[in-house]
Structure formats: structure tokens, C-alpha cells
Symmetry: C2
Subunit: 233 residues, 2 copies
């Protein structure tokens, strides 16, 4: 009898673990083996949930974007010993904008049951709070680094948004927030609606939607907090 | 001092409310006025959470896809009286594939703070458990009803998926599950990966990813449970 691959959401801010539902806590109590992007932060997360008398006995292996898929049979070994295995994201939901899908793909290819658990996703929460079209949306990850390519990507996404009435969602690393905002404000049309969502579920949470022209007249300084941007032309 | 507009996720299956985190329960205790698609089911949901001594005093108004936006100033009145207002979806997260965004849009236009709360989304959970690309994905709602249009839409989405390495996500109402599966299996290429996610978080949960050719040789009968389909060419 094979174990189950559980997908364990992590918190997305320093705001505390009250965003993690009881269903995650109950599943965790059946899991002693985990795959994580970073073992130190995964261990800290599990400790903070205060559901274990001790986390000393819990076993962690690394699964990150550099993991060679040839290592997967070894990483999935607990499953074949009848044990459940948990995939923990560095932030938010495994398999969404994160390398967890490597393990999930392997599970499907080998008849292993996959159970996703409910938790915070900055992408989904930003979309909910955007007021933009939630019937049709697309997530595109990070914008390209090079300035010329950024402009082209933003304009292409805006055209697609207009043609399909589709909300476009992108994320950015905190230290590039203000740069990306500059690029969005200079490349999008004045009438396009832009949502800036900062530090979702955290103490600095701030989610606002305005037209690009509205943001231009009153440009915020974003600070070094995780950000999600949504727009709809 | 204006109140806050809280976006309250609902359960997505009969599986119980242990998927609703403590952060939702704490927020609910500050809210006495709600907008809901269906007052009877919203009331039943709040009762099932067992956080109120009585829900008799709670006030509900209807916000659904037929709500005229001219009614919004009246629906949002509690906010201007300094009271918090909660938007409850029929299933999953308000503002995602649901009419909650009407109220959210109004809030942003009038400087009202919007706070999205963490909870289940069948779209996100299906994507997590799909093993498909979670770095780039798009949600397209329901497929068209007419057979000729369905074929064209599926083929267009498959082409886009291949060109962009983008996971495509669609939902279907339970009574059309098997029809839509037939359309997917006859229009997608044999090598395209297709995830069928049924009754997520429920007792009948079943999430599997196979190639279209794999599904064709062993076609499941889906039953009348909520379904999400994801595919990647």
C-alpha cells in the first residue's frame, strides 16, 4: 500500500499561522517525511504551527528548481514504504509558481495519490481583492529583466487582456517592486485598471485598484515587501 | 470611519469546514452584515462554522450575477455606517468565477478597504495537484455550450497552451462533466496532458493527470460531482 503525496501550503507573510486551516494540521500529523525548497525555513514553519511535541524526528529532503528529476525515485521512497510524504513550499501553495510540481508529476506518472491542501496563495488572494475579472485570468510569473523586453511583454499582455477581457497577474521579488511599477505605469494605457497588492495577509497588507492614470498622479513607493500586480485593459 | 469589505471563502464540498482557517473565523466575528449569492446557503454555511451563539441577528443581502450595479450604494451602506461587510461566495473564493467582484470594484472606486481571506479554491487546488505548469496558467471559466464552438475553443486553447507552455484550466457544472470530457478527449492531441479533478476536498476527491491517449483507453465515468479540468500541450 503506497503512501499519499500531500501538498502543504506555507504562510505568505510574517502575519502568523492562523491562515493555515485545521485540515492541514490534521494531515501534517500523518506525515513524517517532507520535501522542501529550504529545510531550515520548512522546519521553522512546522515548529511555528505548534502541533508536534518535537520536530527532531521529522525527515526533510530538498526539492528545488535545481533538483534533477533522476533523483525523484529516491526522494519519493517513503511513499513506496507506505508512508505519506509532504511537499512544503517556501511560500504559499506547492506547485503554483514553485518547483513542487516536479514531485506531483512523478506521482501521477506512478499511480501515487496526490492530495492538495487549502492555504494561502498571494496570486489568488490578489485576484479576489482586485475587483477585476475573476471569470477569466492568467498568471504569467515574473516579467523579463531586460528593459526593452519588459516593455514589449507588458504591451503584449495588455493587448491580450483587452482582446479576451482577461485579468493578467504577475509577481515580483521585493527588491524590484518599484522598478516593475515604473515599467507598468509607463507602458500601460491610462485607462487600464491596475491592482497593486502588497504583503497580503501581513501587517503591511495594502491592496488597491486604480486606473493607470490614477496611479500616475499619485505614485506610491512600495517598499521591500512581496507584491502581486494585476491588470485589466 | 468606514468599515472594511471582507471576502469570505466558502467550502467547496460537503467535506466539512476544517478547510476554513482561524483567520476567517476571527474576521467573521467582527461582521454582522453580509452579501451573498443565496441567503439560505450562506446562512447554513455560517451556522455550520459554529462560531455564533445565534445567527438570527445577522443581516444578509443578495449579490448575484443579476444584481444591478445601481443597487451597490445601498448594498454597501453598512460600510458607511462604520460596519464591516462580508461577501460570501456560493462556493470557494468570492471574486473568482463568481459575482463578488462587483462589490470589490465598487469598494476600490470609493476608497473602501478590501481584505481577502484565505480559503478553498477548486481552481487553485486542481492546479496544485495537476503536476502541470504552475509558473504559467490561465483560467477560462466554462466551455461554450454549442458543440461546434466547443471544438474550436478546445483546439484554440491547446494551441495557446503549446505556444506559451501555459496550463489551461476550465470548470464545468456536474451534469455536463461527461459531455465535456468527451469533447476534451476527442479534440485534444493524444500527447496533451489532461488533469481531471473531481470533488476536491470532498469524500469523492479524485485528481489524476494522464495523457489524452491514456485517458482514451480507460475513460472514467465522472458522476455528478464538481469538476475542474486542466491541460497542457
Amino acid at each position: 500500500m503506497k503512501g499519499v503525496l500531500y501538498l502543504i501550503p506555507n504562510v505568505i507573510s510574517e502575519g502568523g499561522s492562523d491562515v493555515i486551516p485545521a485540515s492541514v494540521r490534521s494531515a501534517l500529523l500523518t506525515i513524517n517525511n517532507f520535501l522542501a525548497e529550504d529545510i531550515r525555513t520548512a522546519r521553522r514553519y512546522l515548529s511555528a504551527l505548534k502541533i508536534y511535541p518535537s520536530i527532531e524526528a521529522i525527515e526533510f529532503q530538498i526539492l528545488n528548481k535545481d533538483t534533477n528529476t533522476l533523483l525523484l525515485p529516491d526522494l519519493m521512497k517513503p511513499i513506496y514504504e507506505g508512508k505519506n510524504l509532504g511537499v512544503i513550499s517556501e511560500s504559499g501553495c506547492p506547485g503554483v509558481a514553485d518547483p513542487g510540481s516536479l514531485a506531483v508529476k512523478y506521482a501521477h506518472d506512478h499511480g501515487i495519490r496526490v492530495v492538495p491542501l487549502v492555504g494561502p496563495s498571494s496570486i489568488l488572494l490578489a485576484l479576489m481583492a482586485s475587483g477585476l475579472n475573476g471569470q477569466k485570468f492568467a498568471f504569467h510569473g515574473y516579467l523579463p529583466i531586460e528593459a526593452k523586453e519588459i516593455s514589449k511583454t507588458i504591451k503584449d499582455l495588455e493587448r491580450e487582456s483587452q482582446a479576451k477581457n482577461q485579468t493578467q497577474i504577475i509577481i515580483e521579488t521585493p527588491y524590484r517592486n518599484n522598478q516593475v511599477l515604473d515599467h507598468l505605469l509607463s507602458n500601460l494605457k491610462p485607462s487600464t485598471l491596475l491592482t497593486i497588492a502588497i504583503d497580503i495577509t501581513g501587517a503591511g497588507e495594502r491592496i488597491e485598484t486604480k486606473s493607470v492614470s490614477g496611479w500616475r498622479t499619485n505614485k506610491p513607493v512600495l517598499g521591500k515587501l512581496p507584491a502581486v500586480f494585476c491588470f485589466l485593459a
